[in-house]
Amino acid sequence: MNASSSESSAETTDPLSRELVQSVVDTARALFGAAASSVFLLDRERHELVFEAVSGQGENHLVGRRFPAESGIAGWVAMSGEPMIVDDLTGSTAFDRDFAESTAYVPDALMAAPLTHGDLVLGVLEVLDPAPQSRSDLGELDLLALFARQAAVALRVVVDRRHQSAGSRSRADDRAAALRMAEDLRRLLEASQ
């Protein structure tokens, strides 16, 4: 499986949202002493996970890339709603190695937690190659889940603002269409007189 790049919702994110979600991945990376951290948005219609923000490895080219949401560890986390920590991935085909290689970075360890709103999974927070002491401890799993709550709020804000923005554009489009229709009707009436 390879990541595909297409016009993504991430590319239409407003500056404030972009800064908010970037601060989440920057903080996650620092919190766990990791090589990289990402937030994925779950696109339910296309059954895909989309890189919404990246800190560290891949920061410059991964945002907006998509991959099928039904495989790999991030996919399992999105489906199950459970956090997960895995280590010793180097010798493994775990978590979809093809995809990892397509992003030009193959981690040895990975932490992932669902980003939820109520009982709905909005996305996934992933931390790649955390510091060795963060890789196996139940306490780290707790910390990851705790931080994921904050990350989920940030992602929810981003999604809400995007919907509001889309709604505003839609309302402007509706107004323009109504004006055009009114103009057409006026012309029709004038022509019929």
Binding site: E70, S71, G75, M84, V86, G118, D137, G139, A145
Partner: protein
């Protein structure tokens, strides 16, 4: 949509964080100590164990033979279960199966895949897969999954009761975070969380339920995709250890009911001291 209900946070519920067996010592009444662990050398022979999860990879060195595989599919006409080749969409089910095989090497292993076939109605798929497994009459079902969706709770509760009376033991993971999820919260299943001890063969009884047992779930080496292994952490991997124990006990005592089986787990837990009624 109802928000996930966050449960109150007593000191000890979901898993054994920052405490050890000595902190939860329990004195039990009346059983003969020499009868408690007569299944220790049992290997699960003939016991049918089903892993309801992301599937199980066939012929993994740490899993061995998978005796049957099914997948649950959602389609326009509803949800159906069909037989399939062994395979795993993620690795999680294979990890669980490997732990069961290590604990009960001679059990029969079956797989029902409920994750990996799409997101829509995941709770429905879980319910359908679990119901199907219960009605096949498996002896033990490993469910290292749960749903936070309250609308499934009553159906899951009824199904857990049905399993209990059919003598199918559901061994279910507690959620890794303190949210309400199901079916591990029900008394009719055997619920499992993680302890933080290094002993890979240690299980503990929790005197402060709802989660009833703790097993090794921290930094566990598990089977994964492609015949490989990884190390991982979480209640998901504590649960199949207890499933394996159930298989071993049942291979020695095949007529045990679920409540007798749970009692055997209780009496054999490392933190439960067997006393004699009235003697102390």
């Amino acid at each position: 949509m109802d928000p996930v209900r966050r449960a109150p946070q007593p000191g000890l519920v979901w898993s054994l964080r920052g405490r050890g067996p000595q902190d939860i010592a329990v004195t039990a009444d009346g059983e003969r100590p020499d009868a408690v662990r007569d299944w220790e050398d049992a290997r699960g022979h003939g016991v049918r164990v089903c892993v309801v999860d992301s599937g199980v990879e066939g012929d993994h060195p740490l899993v061995g033979r998978v005796d049957g595989s099914w997948t649950v599919e959602e389609h326009e006409g509803g949800i159906s279960v069909r037989e399939t080749e062994p395979g795993d969409s993620c690795g999680h089910g294979t990890a669980c199966a490997g732990i069961i095989r290590r604990t009960a090497p001679e059990c029969e292993l079956y797989s029902v895949q409920v994750l990996g076939s799409g997101f829509a109605g995941t709770g429905d798929v879980l319910l359908a897969g679990l119901r199907w497994a219960v009605r096949q009459g498996f002896d033990v079902i490993n469910l290292s999954l749960s749903t936070t969706r309250a609308r499934f709770a009553e159906e899951l509760r009824a199904l857990a009761d049905e399993a209990y009376f059919r003598r199918t033991v559901i061994v279910a993971s507690a959620h890794n975070t303190q949210v309400e999820s199901f079916p591990w919260r029900f008394a009719s299943v055997v619920s499992v969380g993680s302890h933080m001890e290094d002993d890979p063969d240690l299980h503990l009884y929790n005197p402060q339920p709802p989660v009833e047992f703790f097993a090794p779930g921290q930094n566990v080496q598990v089977a994964w995709l492609g015949g490989r292994t990884i190390r991982t952490t979480g209640n998901s991997f504590a649960t199949p250890y207890v499933t394996g124990l159930c298989a071993r006990i049942l291979s020695r005592h095949p007529r045990l009911t679920p409540f007798q089986l749970k009692n055997a787990l209780y009496l054999s837990a490392a933190n439960v001291r067997i006393g004699t009624r009235g003697a102390s």
